[in-house]
Symmetry: C2
């Protein structure tokens, strides 16, 4: 598949004159937000679709969610906007950015950010780009958290909110994220976050990614794909401690690939933002926050997702509905686990298309069924 290039991409620089205040108490000045735009904003400026990326994504939505372009997003009609989140290492301000105060990269001094902070920076960047009204905000995982936060914090700007595999993290999710950060910290090359950019703590970050991959996939998928097969390179786990089963070889490979493209401090920052996501923050309660929503909210759960179990997504949908916001919940059957949002784009596209055309969902697709609407 050839990669679709953005119509336009670049950086918006915010907080040049006054610091950007963060929920946890820190601040940043300035703040750079990398954006990518596919298609064109129409004259009435009502055709923008904001795509919010997940933990390791970038502003180039067509690079990591290519199947959505053409199937769901029609660039003759839609203007798809995506911004790299605060704290990331794909050109927005994050731990690898230069700290103006020191002339050095922030590294471990990068302040703690929340999903709210991420969304507030995103909203200011969109203002600069002249994108005020969002026909749809869509995302999965921490991208879905952003979509929901948009609907709460900027109710007047969002028409439809689509959040896939998203809810406040359960205790097991918090546990798994914590263990990933501990793996990074265990690597001596991490050195408390003070490592040269070219000397990533590859062991720790790779292990973190491998733990995460277990939480992104499902036991069912692992059994289908790997079962108890020895590693495909000919290793024999019966004979040597170092020889692996196939699933272990897969996880190590995923870790090795990941460290080539991600920064360990950024990983800690974003995984912590995922932990602290809670729509109640900044409001008197979650219910008060949800009452602000004016968008139609579509939540999607994936049956085999154990990082964001469908029950938790459905429960959130029920709380949104109870708060008076129009909300539907769709659950689709997939063995892909949390990663179903990337692996089963056709099913997702069905859900999204339904929302896109603002129809009430009846049957979205063979594999997907609407549970409440």
């Amino acid at each position: 598949m050839s990669t679709l290039h953005p119509t336009r991409e670049g950086d918006v620089i915010l907080a040049q004159d006054a610091p950007f205040r963060l929920e946890a108490g820190g601040s940043l000045q300035p703040v750079c937000i990398r954006y990518a735009i596919y298609g064109e904003l129409n004259e009435s400026r009502d055709n923008a679709v904001l795509v919010c990326h997940a933990l390791s994504g970038s502003a180039r939505a067509a690079d990591w969610w290519p199947e959505m372009f053409g199937s769901v997003f029609d660039l003759s009609r839609d203007c798809v906007v995506c911004t790299n989140i605060l704290g990331s290492c794909y050109s927005s301000t994050g731990p690898t950015s230069i700290n103006r105060a020191t002339g050095q990269p922030y590294g471990p001094d990068f302040p703690q950010v929340s999903v709210r902070d991420i969304v507030h920076a995103q909203a200011q960047a969109l203002d600069e780009l002249g994108v005020h009204r969002l026909r749809i905000v869509i995302g999965a995982s921490i991208g879905g958290m952003q979509a929901l936060q948009w609907s709460v914090d900027y109710p007047e700007r969002v028409e439809h909110c689509i959040a896939i595999g998203t809810a406040p993290l359960s205790a097991m999710g918090l546990a798994l994220n914590h263990l990933q950060r501990q793996a990074i910290r265990l690597d001596p090359k991490f050195n408390g976050g003070n490592y040269p950019p070219e000397e990533q703590p590859t062991g720790g970050l790779g292990l973190a990614r491998a733990i995460a991959m277990c939480s992104y996939k499902s036991a069912e998928l692992f059994d289908e794909r790997y079962a108890r097969k020895p590693n495909r390179n000919g290793e024999d786990p019966l004979r040597s401690f170092e020889h692996r089963y196939d699933v272990a070889g897969y996880l190590d490979y995923q870790g090795q690939k990941f460290v080539q493209r991600f920064d360990a401090n950024a990983y800690i920052v974003i995984s912590k933002a995922m932990d602290t996501f809670d729509l109640a923050h900044g409001y008197s309660s979650e219910a008060e926050a949800l009452k602000r929503i004016r968008a139609h909210v579509s939540l999607v759960g994936i049956t085999s997702d154990w990082l964001f179990p469908p029950e938790a997504v459905r429960a959130l949908a029920e709380r949104i509905e109870a708060a008076g916001a129009p909300c539907d919940y769709t659950e689709f059957e997939s063995s892909h686990g949390h990663d179903g949002f990337l692996a089963e784009v056709n099913a997702i596209a069905g859900v999204v298309s339904g929302r896109f055309h603002a129809r009430r969902l009846a049957v979205v697709k063979n594999k997907a069924h609407v549970v409440c609407s």
Copy 2:
């Protein structure tokens, strides 16, 4: 609860004159097996109950499974025997033992052992102790693997086999075990397994234990106990990267406790033995192995166990039955996950008592229900 002391405990020394050959190709000479005996062997030597311990257990069964004594094991009638497994660090030959060839601890040179090796050493040790016939062999997790292996390899010696939360590991189980070993190897203090006994790779072994604890517990239990509460020591995860949620504090604590009582090389050896468990080994197929069984086999699945999912335990029960061996399967509802075998001893005791009195199981207990018999 005061600790019940063994009636007798000590070491059996095997392979003094000839090496003990291991499945993976290595050998050990000599082999020490630590045993503990509670109660007395009767004159007809038909009252022995062999308890097989799990990964981090010891020969002192009453230390880690105290509730079973008095409720299920009646020492006026039963003679409960437990041996520390090969590869462990609780006095049987393992990586912390002195390698006769070097005069130094084996450390990382300790050879790979299998559940079969563990059971064969155990069987030889029992021979030395005059225990030939086993009324019951019981264990959970890798202890259950041993119980099953006993029934296959020594069909004439075992009357009842009770295995709880046990099956060949699924791909997800293999993945989680692998990540635990990778965590240990990541710790610079591990140094390829060459660390002084007093300088354990506490970071890596602690992280391994924390990952394991996630697999031993259930998401449901974590939600009940910890939810999204901040760590009970007053940390505020919204304010600092280092501040944790309660579940993270719990996991770190479990890791810290564990490193005080376990050896990292032993952890690798035993977790690898758990990986390679497969009753087909040494036979032409699993079915051929299962056909050898003469014992009545009782398998127990725990509803919330995701390391050894009840479906996998049940499927094993069906394969045993298909091979012609008498087998029943009981599933008990518990939110405790795999650790249910330790946390819900009353329910387990119900199952075991049923077997103990060799009755056909109808209703074992309120919370347990027999699914097939």
